[in-house]
Structure formats: C-alpha cells, structure tokens
C-alpha cells in the first residue's frame, strides 16, 4: 500500500518545480556559493508540492481511497524523504566534477564534504518537523507552515556556518582534504540518524494532529 501511496504522490502531488530543484546540485559548480541554499531550494520544491496537493483537493481524493486517514501523512513523509534523499544523491556527481576541474575552496561557506551533508540532513529534519507538524494541524495552511519552518532552518544554517569558523572545528569540518573527510564521516552518520529519527517523530506527531482535523 505504501508503494501505491508513493506512486500517487509522485504522479499527482509532485509539482514540476520539485524535479527542477532535484537538479540544483549543479550549483556546486558555482566557484563560491553558500551550498546550504541548494538544499533550501529542495524545501521550496516540497512546499510547491503541498500547495499543488491543496489546490487540487488531494486530501479529499485520498480520503476516498482504501487507506487510513493517517496514511495520508505517511505518504507525504515518504514522498519528502524520497525527494530529499534524491536531491542529495543527485548532487554528489557535481562535487566530483568540481574537484576534477580544480575549482578550489569555497570562499562563500562550508566546503562540499561529508560533514556538510550531515548538516544538510539535520537541516532537512528541522524543516520537515516544523513544516509537517504545522501543516497537518489544518491540512491547508501551507504558507504559514513554510514560513514557520524556514525560521529555525535559517537559524540552524547560520549556526552551522558560524561553527566552521571556530578554531579547531574549521580544520576538521571546513575542508575537502581526503584524510579529514574520513574524520567527518561520524558527522554525516549523526546527521542521517537525526534525519531518520526526526522523520519518524515528525510522522507520528503530524499524523496525530491530522487525525483530529475535520475535513
């Protein structure tokens, strides 16, 4: 049933903007750029999908299908996880291209390295938690939910970018040196665990709220 729900999300709810943002990994080829912005666009793509679903009365369509009400939330969480993971995976080849052409260090922010992706997973977890839980309180106020979600997202990104200037952390986290990238892997794993755990908690909380909504 989850496969069918995911199919429905991609076939009906997914907005073309989402697919465009999946290709934004190409922005790793910009010599100096705050790379978190690339994945902020991914959040924006997700927001477009929620708007698309709302404007097409997806909730009412889905309510007629042989599923439980909370499965509506589960479908959207799986959809977000699939889209965000795809955006990360699709961006990685561009980092290799960046290395191959010798573009050098990123002067506008953190380097594209394992630690950065760990932080991106945490950034997504924060966005998803606030956005989903806020949206499914009403199942229609997507704009308000998005605005509420980008505030903690921005605070986290600002904190993460600041942290890499702290002596000691800079040489560990803000580098693409191979031996240091190996030492960044725990940050990546930590980020992935936060993302997975966060998504589970987000689903439980958002589904609980959605159960109480009278459609």
């Amino acid at each position: 049933m989850m496969k069918s729900l995911l199919y429905k999300e991609f076939r009906l709810v997914a907005h073309p903007m989402l697919y465009i943002t999946l290709a934004f990994g190409a922005m790793f080829l910009i010599p100096a750029y705050p790379f978190y912005v690339i994945f902020f666009y991914g959040c924006l793509g997700l927001f477009f999908c929620f708007i698309n679903g709302r404007e097409n009365k997806d909730t009412f369509f889905t309510a007629t299908l042989p599923i439980k009400k909370r499965d509506v939330v589960k479908a959207r969480c799986l959809f977000a996880a699939a889209a965000q993971t795809a955006q990360i995976l699709l961006s990685i080849p561009f980092i290799f291209v960046r290395q191959a052409v010798g573009m050098g260090a990123n002067d506008a922010g953190i380097e594209a390295n394992p630690a950065f992706f760990g932080f991106v997973f945490i950034m997504f977890a924060i966005f998803n938690a606030v956005f989903f839980i806020s949206f499914f309180k009403t199942a229609f106020k997507a704009g308000k939910a998005f605005l509420m979600a980008i505030v903690p997202l921005c605070i986290f990104v600002a904190a993460a970018e600041t942290a890499i200037h702290v002596p000691g952390l800079d040489t560990w986290l803000d580098t693409s040196a191979p031996e240091m990238m190996v030492r960044q892997i725990p940050v990546l794993i930590f980020g992935m665990l936060v993302y997975a755990g966060g998504m589970l908690l987000t689903y439980r909380c958002a589904a609980g709220r959605f159960e109480a909504v009278d459609l």
Partner: protein, 251 residues
C-alpha cells in the same frame, strides 16, 4: 444483510450539532438521505467515512466495524463527495492509473465496460467533463473494484433534468442484482420519488424518520390540510421546514 449500520452518531460544532444519528441500509436498496442545506447530510457522511471525527457513535459496514477495518470497508465501497473537483487538469487515465493501484481486486474489463457504457474518454481531462460525466466517471471507478456500497454526497446537484434522470436510472440498474446498495444524499426530493427504496430524513442534525418510501410518505400525511391531496416528498419537507420558520418569525 445490512451493508451499512450507523448507530448514535453525534458531533458538536460551535454552531451545529449532529445528534444521535442512526440508520441502516440493506443489500439491494437505494436510500435517499434528505434534508435541507445545512441539515447535517454531509457531516453525517463525512463522519461515517472518518473524515470528520464524531464525538460518539458506531459505524459498521458489511458487518465489520469501520474504525477497526477502515481499509477493508473502503475496498468494498465507492465514494463520491459533492462536486468532483480534484485534479481538474489531470487526464482520467492518470487518475485511474493511480486509483487502481489501491485495489487488488481491480477489474480492468469492468472499467473498460463502464467507460464505454458511460461514453467516457479517458484521454479527457477532468475539467473537460460535465458535472454528470464526472459523477459517472467516479461510478465507473467504484464499479471497477466491485464496490458493494456506494456512498454519494449530492451526486445530482447541479445536473440538468436529463442527466439527473439518466443517473437515477443507472442507480436503479446497479442495485437490480440485489448485491449492491446506494446511499445518496440530496435536497432534490424528486430524485427520490423516482428511485429510492428507503428514505432517511435529517433536520437540524437529527433524524426525523428513516423507513421505506411508502411508510415514510404515509407517516407524514397528518401534515396535510383538509382540502389537500396526498403530500409529496417535497411538500412534506417544505411543511416540516416551514413550520419552524414560521415559529421563528412569531418570536
């Protein structure tokens, strides 16, 4: 066998209360659910389907508890809620492609048969269909997964008399084999004169009467003025609703 049983359904909103709604629907029957606009028809149907959380009450379908076995119940029913206005820009074949993935018992042959009977082109977009054709499309979807219970919220609203008559004729044919039942809400009482076996009348969130059509009509003949002939459904409803209206003016 009762395909649907609603017992003691209640739901309170700040400005409206659904009070202890109970009725049941047997196999092979068409039940008209009537009431004026705002009487609680849609709230009842949505509460039945879990879209609105009732404060109390129990729903069973096909002898099973709806809340416990929502997936099973929905596998065996077709739902048409109000004006069908979701995914207006999508082609019917896209919506069908998504819908059929949710039904293991999907019958492609049946789908093609009903699309042909209802003269529906699956390459058309939802917005290109008339209101009547949209209802027919959703019926085709429901019949393609062998729905035994069809729940339709005001399916005839906004239809011209010819389309309404056509749809009601389809309803009659669908229940003819005695296996399916239809519950449809309406405020157009002439629909029920034509095809309903049972009538459930809701007024201000309360069920006034639920019975077979003849018994229903007979039970309201006491409202008749001495010089009036037998009251029709419309006249019964108008008299019932107007009574309160007059009282309010008297205050």
């Amino acid at each position: 066998m009762e395909l649907l049983k609603v017992e003691g359904l209640s739901k309170s909103y700040p400005a409206f209360t659904l009070k202890n709604v109970s009725f049941s629907l047997k196999e092979g029957r068409i039940m008209g659910f009537i009431g004026k606009n705002g009487a609680g028809k849609s709230t009842t149907l949505k509460s039945m389907l879990g879209m609105v959380h009732p404060d109390s009450g129990a729903i069973s379908m096909f002898g099973r508890d709806f809340r416990e076995e929502e997936g099973y119940c929905k596998q065996n029913m077709g739902i048409v809620l109000g004006g069908i206005d979701f995914y207006m820009k999508k082609k019917l074949k896209v919506i069908t492609g998504v819908t059929k993935k949710f039904y293991p018992g999907w019958d492609e042959g049946n789908y093609e048969k009903y699309m042909r009977i209802f003269e529906l082109d699956e390459n058309k977009r939802v917005e290109e269909l008339s209101a009547g054709m949209r209802v027919k499309y959703l019926l085709a979807l429901a019949l393609s997964h062998h729905a035994r219970l069809l729940v339709l919220d005001e399916p005839t609203s906004g239809l011209d008399p010819v389309s309404r008559d056509e749809l009601l004729t389809i309803f009659e044919k669908l229940v003819k084999d005695g296996k399916r039942s239809i519950l449809f809400s309406t405020h157009i009482t002439s629909d029920l004169e034509k095809c309903a076996d049972d009538i459930t009348y809701i007024k201000d969130g309360e069920i006034v009467k639920c019975s077979g059509k003849k018994e229903f009509l007979d039970s309201f003949q006491s409202l008749r003025e001495p010089d009036e002939k037998e009251l029709s459904l419309e006249e019964i409803m108008v008299k019932m609703e107007r009574k309160n209206y007059d009282e309010e003016f008297a205050l």
